[in-house]
């Protein structure tokens, strides 16, 4: 029981790190980026190449995955996404689905369609036993890392100058521009960090989520659930939504395996009907 809870939390934390970038682009900037999972997949595959083929240490691989995915995100944002921000949702959907299809086929072409595994150092394998709860070391590490990232993000968003610029840019682009905030650069950096975090999540999660070319399609709905259920007004909402989703999904698969992901999708639809702005949306949200 507690093991399920523990696994659920680590899974949810992972989902949060994967989806937080989307929470900003979709929830705050109102850009429908279905291709978010592609950046996560890029991070995962970069780690596989670095760690398995070249022989980098796991930690280095994960960190590099972050930077590589962030660079990729920045590149795409500056060259392609900027042109689509102002378009209507249908165009955004078409554009990002196109990117997903391209990334799926490209990865399939380069890396093959089979599932990839990252070699995790032996020190991280195995379990702790605390009060009779079996806790995987690797999952514990994920919780710690993702917890730190969450804390860091929250502080960055509320306490730093960049955070206030971003909030200003999101709240009212025109006024923010009038105040001399470089909105384009702010969005670009945010997008890059979000993509980088997705890449980091993809690298860390390759073991738990499974990494193959259809990763962006398989987890697209999960990311969207996190954002829509969590609401886009803060990162606390998506955080709790991820944890709930993680626990719900793990518990659902553990206790009622025949129903599978069915439970999750149904919950999402119900939440969307009940509160279209998300469970944790502020009353005075835009």
């Amino acid at each position: 029981m507690l093991t399920v809870l523990f696994d659920g939390i680590s899974y949810g934390m992972l989902l949060f790190v994967l989806a937080v970038g989307l929470a900003v682009t979709l929830g705050l900037m109102n850009f429908v980026n279905l291709a978010h999972g592609s950046f996560a997949m890029a991070g995962g595959y970069i780690t596989v190449i670095l760690v398995n083929r070249i022989g980098f240490p796991f930690a280095v691989g994960v960190v590099l995955a972050f930077f590589a995915a962030a660079a990729l995100g920045a590149l795409f944002e500056r060259t392609l996404y900027v042109r689509v921000y102002e378009k209507n949702p249908l165009d955004q959907v078409l554009f990002t689905i196109g990117l997903v299809f391209m990334s799926v086929a490209a990865v399939d072409y380069v890396m093959g369609s089979s599932q990839q595994f990252v070699q995790i150092p032996s020190a991280l394998q195995g379990q702790f036993h605390v009060f009779g709860i079996g806790m995987g070391k690797y999952r514990l590490l994920i919780i710690v890392i993702c917890g730190l990232i969450t804390l860091g993000l929250q502080l960055a968003l509320t306490r730093t100058r960049f955070g206030s610029r971003l909030r200003a840019a999101v709240d009212d682009q025109r006024v923010a521009r009038g105040l001399g905030i470089n909105v384009g650069a702010t969005f670009g950096i945010t997008f890059a960090i979000g993509s980088g975090l997705a890449g980091l999540g993809g690298a860390l999660g390759a073991e738990i989520l499974g990494l193959d070319p259809i990763f962006p399609l398989r987890y697209m709905i999960y990311f969207l659930i996190v954002v829509t259920v969590g609401g886009g007004s803060s990162i606390i909402g998506p955080f709790f939504a991820s944890i709930l989703l993680g626990i719900g999904d793990v518990a659902g698969k553990y206790y009622v395996p025949t129903l599978g992901a069915f439970v999750i999708y149904t919950i999402m639809i119900v939440v969307l009907i009940w509160r279209p702005l998300g469970l944790f949306a502020r009353a005075a949200s835009r």
Binding site: L26, N30, V32, L80, R83, V84, K87, N88, P89, L90, D91, Q92, V93, L94, F95, I97, G98, L99, V100, F101, M102, S103, V104, A105, A106, D108, Y109, L217, M220, I221, L224, T228, T258, L259, G260, A261, F262, Y265, T266, M268, I269, L272, I273, P276
Partner: protein, 359 residues
């Protein structure tokens, strides 16, 4: 009748008139039965895709509802037909087709209330979610649906007890084309009626439509239900012509490809789905021959390019096609004359040209 009534009635008559282009299109389609006998298998798929795209056009092009899960109804119709045929409840294709359409429409009606709420984003999520739920259900209850192996043993009897399906798709193509044509006629009738005009109004501005007295929600429910029925018939056709049904009828890719089909052909004038289906199938066939495994990459590239270049510019030709076969209210000769009179009375120059373009 007052003059206004006459004018409006005249407008609907003109709007409903067949243009030579349309007649040419259907003659070509009919001719393909005899002219391209070796291509009937792919043409059958094209006709089914065209019907499916027509269904999406009804909600996207006329009511402005973005759906990322239209495969839900397609798959529902497909499995419905497969199951009733497998268990020998209804083996006659035409009756099964009607029932599948009704069943899918019922599902559409039930889920339409979920689609009414919220913004475009919520709609995208809800439609996607409904399709995923159905996919998951079909996957889990594999004792009924056959799961990943597909539904085996679908026994389809000859159409109306007379025309049996053959290996080369001759019967199947003729059958699909007839169904497509009949449903197209119905769709044409629907969108060119006052009801169809009210849909366009609510697509352009729901708030204003509501203000002039159009029951926005009721209209959306109605068109969503009809479109779901169309998609169900398309799915049923697929099951009947292939005597098989697998999970991919409900897949996300099917919904996404469908959007591309409709975007290629252009939305809002009914022929977009049909033309788009022909282009898409042709393109898919060509790409699949070129790179069997990775054709999806090129499909993705087409999507990205269409958006980057601008949908208006890529499918601009469809717009002129659109006006050729689908006259606009402001393009009515009477109203144009009247506007010119008003303009002259006010002493303004040409109002007509600018106003008829402003949309």
């Amino acid at each position: 009748m007052t003059q206004l009534e006459e004018e409006v009635a005249g407008f609907f008559v003109r709007r409903g008139r067949w243009s030579p282009l349309e007649i040419a299109f259907w003659i070509l389609a009919l001719a393909s039965i005899w002219l391209l006998p070796s291509e009937h298998l792919i043409l059958t798929e094209t006709a089914i895709l065209a019907l499916f795209a027509l269904s999406l056009d009804l909600i996207l092009g006329f009511a402005g509802i973005i759906s990322l899960g239209h495969a839900a109804f397609f798959g529902f119709g497909a499995y419905f037909t497969g199951l009733v045929a497998k268990y020998g409840i209804v083996n006659e294709p035409v009756l099964a087709l009607l029932l599948a359409g009704l069943a899918a429409a019922a599902l559409g009606f039930a889920t339409s209330f979920l689609v009414l709420r919220g913004s475009d984003l919520t709609r995208i999520m809800v439609t996607l979610g409904i399709a995923l739920v159905l996919y998951e259900l079909a996957n889990r209850y594999d004792n009924i649906t056959g799961g990943a192996n597909g539904l085996q043993g679908v026994d389809i009897h000859p159409i109306l007890g007379r025309f049996s399906f053959d290996l080369y798709g001759h019967t199947a193509y003729a059958y699909c084309l007839v169904v497509l044509f009949l449903l197209f006629l119905l769709a044409r009738r629907i969108v060119r009626s006052p009801f169809g005009l009210s849909l366009v109004a609510l697509k352009d501005n729901p708030l204003r439509a509501e203000a002039v007295g159009i029951p926005v929600n009721a209209r959306m429910v109605a068109i969503y239900t009809i479109a779901a029925g169309y998609a169900g018939v398309a799915g049923a056709l697929l099951t009947q012509t292939t005597a098989f049904c697998s999970l991919d009828v409900l897949s996300f890719e099917r919904s996404a490809d469908l959007l591309l089909v409709l975007i290629i052909g252009g939305t809002g004038y009914l022929y977009g789905g049909l033309i788009g289906a022909v282009i898409f199938k042709f393109m898919q066939d060509w790409l699949a021959n070129l790179t069997p495994q990775y054709w999806q990459f090129w499909i993705g590239l087409v999507l990205v390019l269409i958006v980057l270049v601008g949908r208006e510019r890529v499918t601009g030709w469809t717009r002129s096609l659109h006006h050729m076969i689908f006259p606009r209210l402001l393009a009515m000769p009477e109203s144009r004359k009247k506007r010119r009179e008003i303009a002259a009375r006010r002493g303004i120059g040409r109002v007509g040209g600018a106003a008829s373009d402003g949309h």
